[in-house]
């Protein structure tokens, strides 16, 4: 395994990922992690260790980071106030920049950027709402998120 101690400095700071260096590997996060209880390959303690030591495989294709349920249990139990959930989100961002994020995740994010919505708006939705007597106030034309992101 190739290690690069400077790797952790490349993670976006928005998510307080820098706090991972305070981890002393107690494993409280793993004990209560719902994802770890079903997947032996998912271990927040090891992911945080990987960040500290600089294991770039964490942002490679097939990384376990995408298995996280983002439940924040680990962040609540951590005695060092590390948030593995947030650190994993930061790793996901770096993975996306490298082009190694799973295709379905990228597709969902791109679809939201195009349509302003998790689900593309269509006539069927309007007729379903009309059946319940709800108006069509939720129509989304798309383009709003794109213009926010491009700063227009």
């Amino acid at each position: 395994m190739e290690l690069d101690l400077k790797f952790r400095n490349e993670l976006p700071e928005l998510e307080e990922a820098g706090k991972t260096v305070l981890c002393f590997q107690c494993g409280s996060c793993v004990a209560d992690c719902p994802a770890s209880s079903f997947s032996a390959g998912f271990n927040p303690r090891k992911i945080v260790l990987g960040i500290i030591l600089g294991d770039r495989e964490l942002v490679g294709a097939g990384s376990p980071i995408w298995e996280c349920t983002t439940c924040y249990t680990c962040a609540e139990v951590c005695p060092q106030e590390v948030s593995p959930t947030e650190a994993i989100t930061a790793l996901k961002n770096v993975s996306t920049e490298k082009g190694t994020a799973p295709e379905n995740v990228r597709d969902i994010a791109e679809a939201i950027k195009s349509t302003d919505s998790v689900i593309a708006h269509n006539k069927k939705i309007e007729s379903m709402r009309a059946e319940l007597g709800l108006d069509s106030a939720i129509s989304r034309e798309g383009g709003v998120i794109r213009s926010i992101l491009s700063g227009e």
Binding site: P34, A35, N93, I108
Partner: protein
């Protein structure tokens, strides 16, 4: 009208108006019954969603969330959501960007701003004898340092809101366990939903109550998928809190669009 300290902008998000409009229907009826005026604001987008969007583009996620917050700020309104994901994104963005109007989930509005007695006063048909398994959903409570909703492991407020309707909130194994929806690994996603359903059945509950459309889908549609995959026969009805509230307020179940649920709900009100 009662005088509320804040004007509320209803932030519907995506899944509720576009996939589960029956939840929106109950929420609108129940909020009107409580004389809460929730106004609409044109131009809200996806909050954005705090797993895939946030996971791929943190800076963009914050920009779009801030734009949604600004639309309500400009009208001196506080955002109220029906979805844990929306409230999580908007609260976190508010914490990062600053500003006075902390968005809230509508169940917090009920509990904190209106209070249990006000809810009870609108109950015309108490849900006596109905055993409810309360599922808070992670993003209603955690991260607790951002949300400050209730204790992140032993919360009570949603149980109290359920009991205000005359129902019983039953305890069950791993009550605070995540629904699993946001994991990209199928064994985790399905495994967590299956374990939750089995624990709820073990406690002899009549239904599950959630406050989030993602948890709702994970358990309602989820049981159908689990039944197919494992040749099992689960059938626990799943409700958003506002649906049970509307029924307790006297709205007829047949007028609330329950036919759209995958798990038959009729037996609960029989």
């Amino acid at each position: 009208m009662i005088s509320l300290p804040e004007k509320h902008a209803l932030f519907l998000g995506c899944l509720i108006p576009m996939m589960f409009p029956q939840i929106e229907l109950s929420a609108r009826k129940a909020l009107a019954e409580l004389e809460v005026e929730c106004e609409e604001i044109e131009g809200f987008t996806c909050c954005p969603e705090p797993w895939n969007f946030k996971g791929t583009d943190l800076q963009g996620w914050l920009k779009v969330a801030s734009a949604n917050l600004k639309k309500a700020d400009d009208k001196d309104m506080t955002i109220t959501t029906l979805c844990n994901g929306c409230s999580a994104t908007l609260k976190e963005a508010r914490k990062i960007e600053g500003g006075d109007r902390m968005p809230l989930h509508a169940v917090e509005l009920l509990y904190r701003d209106l209070g249990i007695e006000k809810i009870k006063a609108t109950v015309k048909k108490p849900l006596e004898g109905i055993r409810v398994a309360v599922h808070y959903g992670c993003h209603l409570l955690r991260p607790s340092k951002v949300f400050k909703t209730d204790n992140p492991f032993t919360p009570l407020f949603l149980d109290e809101l359920v009991e205000a309707l005359g129902a019983v909130s039953v305890d069950y194994q791993d009550k605070m366990q995540c629904c699993g929806r946001a994991s990209s690994a199928d064994e985790i996603k399905t495994g967590l939903a299956k374990r939750k359903i089995e624990n709820v059945e073990e406690a002899d509950a009549d239904c599950i109550v959630v406050t989030c459309p993602a948890c709702f889908e994970q358990f309602d549609l989820g049981q159908l998928l689990i039944n197919r995959k494992f040749s099992e026969n689960h059938g626990i009805p799943v409700f958003h809190y506002f649906q049970l509230l509307a029924v307790a307020q006297g709205f007829k179940p047949e007028d609330l669009g329950f036919g759209r649920h995958r798990m038959d709900v009729e037996k609960v009100f029989a």
